[in-house]
């Protein structure tokens, strides 16, 4: 048992808490920026899980984290651009006002 493994349980627990916070934020908050931050939070919670479990399963988990960070960076660029465009159009980033796809 390596010293790091004693930290596995707390690491997974922290990851679960962070992920839940992210989900709650996405569901409950209406500001697009906050929503965006919450999504980042969920991604990083998953990253933490990957890193923690990499000790058991080898380096592939850590490599996956790099992929996730790359995607998150790209997502940040695209997502912020969309939010910016919406704001220019509606003078607001409140998601309740953005309901063009209502049935």
């Amino acid at each position: 048992m390596t010293p790091g493994m004693t930290l596995l349980g707390p690491a997974l627990g922290l990851s679960a808490i962070l992920f839940s916070l992210g989900v709650a934020g996405v569901v409950l908050r209406r500001n697009a920026i906050v929503l965006f931050v919450c999504i980042e939070l969920m991604l990083n919670a998953v990253n933490l899980t990957f890193v923690a479990l990499a000790q058991l399963h080898g380096a592939s988990g850590q490599i996956m984290v790099f992929f996730v960070m790359t995607v998150a960076a790209a997502e940040a660029a695209v997502g912020l651009a969309i939010i910016l465009a919406i704001f220019r159009h509606k003078q607001s980033v409140d998601l309740q006002n953005i309901n063009l796809l209502r049935g």
């Binding site: 989900v23 996405v26 569901v27 409950l28 209406r30 998601l95 309740q96 953005i98 309901n99 063009l100 796809l101 209502r102 049935g103």
Partner: protein
């Protein structure tokens, strides 16, 4: 030659296709149209002659069946498209193609100036096709093709000048009344199928005695339904009212379809299924009774009509009644005999009236007068201007009035004599005989009236028009001459023994009528009775002619415009006993009301359009609206749903 009989059908069919194409592409190519139209008809006549000659040379024991192809192979029901060549169909072949050819030739002159010339000949050729299918069909369904086809051609030709609404309506009336009768024909076919398991005439003839009980309910029902079909096609009470209206068509059409051939199809049908009628005495009595009553009823209406073609139309209804009296009496060959002689003299009368109308029309056309060219009150004294037409129509008049030695005398006299003979078994036939004799008197009367009003006395056409009246050109008068000769000597076909003949037509048809002869056997009355019957018939004809002639010319006849309104019985007869009005009130109006109020507004617009079509649309619209309520456009709601779903799937996987 017998196996080539299909050529008689195929040639007019080719003529129809060529003329039909020409009427669409080159309506002015009248030379080609005349050549093709009349040519195929004459060619069909030559084929018929060949078939007939072979039958004479080698009289077959059984009818020759010319099988073309299998038409309806359905389980145990096998219907071939086949033609039956025997003595009866050969006679009909000759009449249809012979009289048909003459009328085609007449039409070349009569319709020359009509813009629909090619269309006219296309229809006329098509009619010959279907009429030949009708008489040649070897089974009830094949006959039914022709039966319906001639109805179609009749409709097309009655409404030939369809731009006038009255003509189009007359066509519809004929078509619809025939449909009523045709339903009877179809029910009869179903019953025959149930009883025999087959529909061809050979099977019916050979197995009727084993399958059916003489006088039983089934055979009575079959024959009565068949006769319902006959009343429609052959214009008998109660379905006769379409025939007088059918005179809206061109006059040669009236001669060919509505006098000589199509309307006699009912008589042919009864003669063709003679074994069934012989086994159903009740039906035969009904046939004879309807025939006798129709003969008298139509003759009374003919007394007071002024349109020359209408008189002849009611005369046709009346003469068809005689034919049914004949076949109902059980003398099928005699009914066919009258059919043949009637085809000659009635075609002659119609074509003669066509010549008269042609001349009158031209006279009024030349002076731009708007008078009725068919009203006999506008004619009079035409004998001076149209001697050929007058003398030829006189022959036909003497024939229809039953004056010997003209053809109608022999056939009509034989029908009446046989009805009288039948009275010995069934006294009700004495009544039918009486009705027939009375009708013969009226026939002679109205024909004398027609001839006197048209050809004798002073001319009432008008001073300026008179110069334009003249006989028709030879292409029209020629066929009249041929028909005149046939009307005069046609009686020789079946000259009875008392006049030195040996009833050639009756013996010729014996193989066809043999199945019926097993059930009923009638002998011509001989000796004093026969002379009395002949004497009475001749006397009645002469009395009727003289009375009609004297009564018509007794007083000056006012022209159609100057005529005072009819009163009393004359008005009732002139208005045809108000039968049309009666039918209109009790049938047409309720049906129209039912169609509009219930079937159209209620069933079609309410149930079909409203409940079914629009109902389905509204239902799917409503379901779609419900579904669209889920799409709020709020991303949060979607996320919640997504989350719930994801957790649910996750939970399911883990467990």
């Amino acid at each position: 030659m017998t196996s080539w009989v299909w050529l008689a059908v195929a040639l007019p069919l080719a003529g129809f296709l060529v003329n039909g194409a020409l009427s669409l592409r080159r309506p002015d190519a009248k030379g080609v149209v005349s050549l093709v139209g009349a040519g195929v008809s004459v060619a069909a006549f030559l084929v018929s002659l060949g078939v007939f000659a072979e039958l004479v040379a080698r009289p077959p024991e059984h009818a020759a069946i010319v099988r073309l192809w299998s038409w309806l192979p359905v389980g145990t029901l096998q219907v071939d498209l086949a033609f039956q060549v025997d003595q009866l169909s050969a006679v009909m072949l000759l009449v249809v193609t012979g009289v048909g050819s003459l009328i085609h030739l007449f039409s070349v002159g009569y319709m020359r100036e009509d813009p629909g010339y090619a269309r006219y000949f296309a229809y006329l050729n098509l009619f010959i096709v279907f009429m030949l299918v009708l008489v040649l069909g070897s089974s009830l369904p094949v006959m039914f093709i022709g039966w319906e086809g001639v109805g179609l051609c009749s409709y097309l030709l009655i409404g030939f000048w369809f731009s006038d609404k009255a003509n189009a309506d007359a066509g519809k009336k004929a078509f619809i009344m025939n449909r009523i009768g045709d339903s009877g024909f179809m029910i009869a076919m179903f019953l025959v199928w149930r009883a025999f398991g087959a529909l061809d005439f050979a099977t019916i003839d050979s197995r009727a005695a084993d399958v059916l009980v003489p006088g039983g309910a089934i055979v009575t029902a079959i024959t009565l339904f068949l006769f319902l079909g006959c009343t429609g096609k052959s214009a008998q009470i109660p379905l006769y009212t379409w025939l007088p209206d059918a005179m809206a068509g061109p006059t040669p059409v009236s001669a060919l379809i509505h006098a000589a051939t199509m309307v006699t199809a009912g008589v042919y049908l009864v003669a063709r299924t003679n074994v069934l009628f012989a086994m159903a005495p009740v039906s035969s009595t009904v046939v004879a009774g309807i025939g006798a009553v129709t003969a008298l009823f139509a003759a009374t209406i003919g007394l007071r009509q002024y349109d020359i073609k209408r008189v002849l139309a009611y005369s046709t209804v009346s003469q068809l009644g005689y034919m049914f009296l004949g076949v109902g009496t059980g003398v099928y060959a005699t009914g066919i005999f009258h059919l043949v002689t009637h085809a000659f003299f009635k075609a002659l009368l119609f074509l003669g009236s066509g010549s008269v109308i042609h001349a009158m029309h031209h006279a009024y056309h030349a002076t731009h007068a708007h008078e009725d060219a068919q009203d006999m009150r506008n004619m009079g004294g035409l004998k001076r201007y149209m001697p050929w037409t007058f003398w030829l129509m006189t022959i036909a008049t003497l024939a229809i009035a039953g004056i010997p030695p003209f053809s109608g005398f022999f056939s009509k006299d034989e029908i009446l004599a046989m009805a009288f003979a039948r009275g010995a078994d069934l006294p009700v036939y004495y009544l039918f005989y009486g009705l027939g004799v009375l009708a013969a008197l009226l026939t002679a009367f109205y024909m004398a009236r027609l001839m006197a009003m048209t050809f004798l006395g002073e001319n009432r056409t008008g001073e300026r028009e008179r110069a334009h009246l003249h006989d028709a050109p030879w292409i029209m008068t020629g066929p009249l001459v041929v028909l005149g000769v046939l009307s005069a000597v046609g009686g020789a076909l079946n000259l009875p023994e008392v006049f030195g003949g040996h009833q050639a037509l009756e013996h010729w048809l014996e193989p066809v009528t043999a199945p019926a002869a097993a059930f009923t056997r009638l002998e011509v009355p001989h000796g004093a009775t026969e002379y009395y019957l002949i004497g009475a018939a001749v006397l009645i004809g002469i009395v009727g002619l003289v009375a009609g002639w004297r009564a018509t010319l007794a007083r000056p006849i006012p022209t159609a415009r100057a005529a005072p309104p009819e009163r009393g019985l004359a008005l009732v007869l002139n208005r045809k006993y108000y039968i049309d009005e009666l039918y209109d009130t009790i049938v047409v109006r309720p049906v129209v009301w039912l169609s509009r109020a219930v079937l159209w507004r209620g069933v079609d617009q309410g149930v079909v359009d409203g409940a079914a079509v629009n109902g389905m649309a509204r239902l799917s619209q409503g379901l779609g609206w419900l579904g669209s309520r889920l799409q709020t456009g709020q991303v949060g709601v979607y996320v919640v749903l997504f989350l719930v779903g994801a957790l649910w799937v996750l939970g399911a996987v883990i467990r």
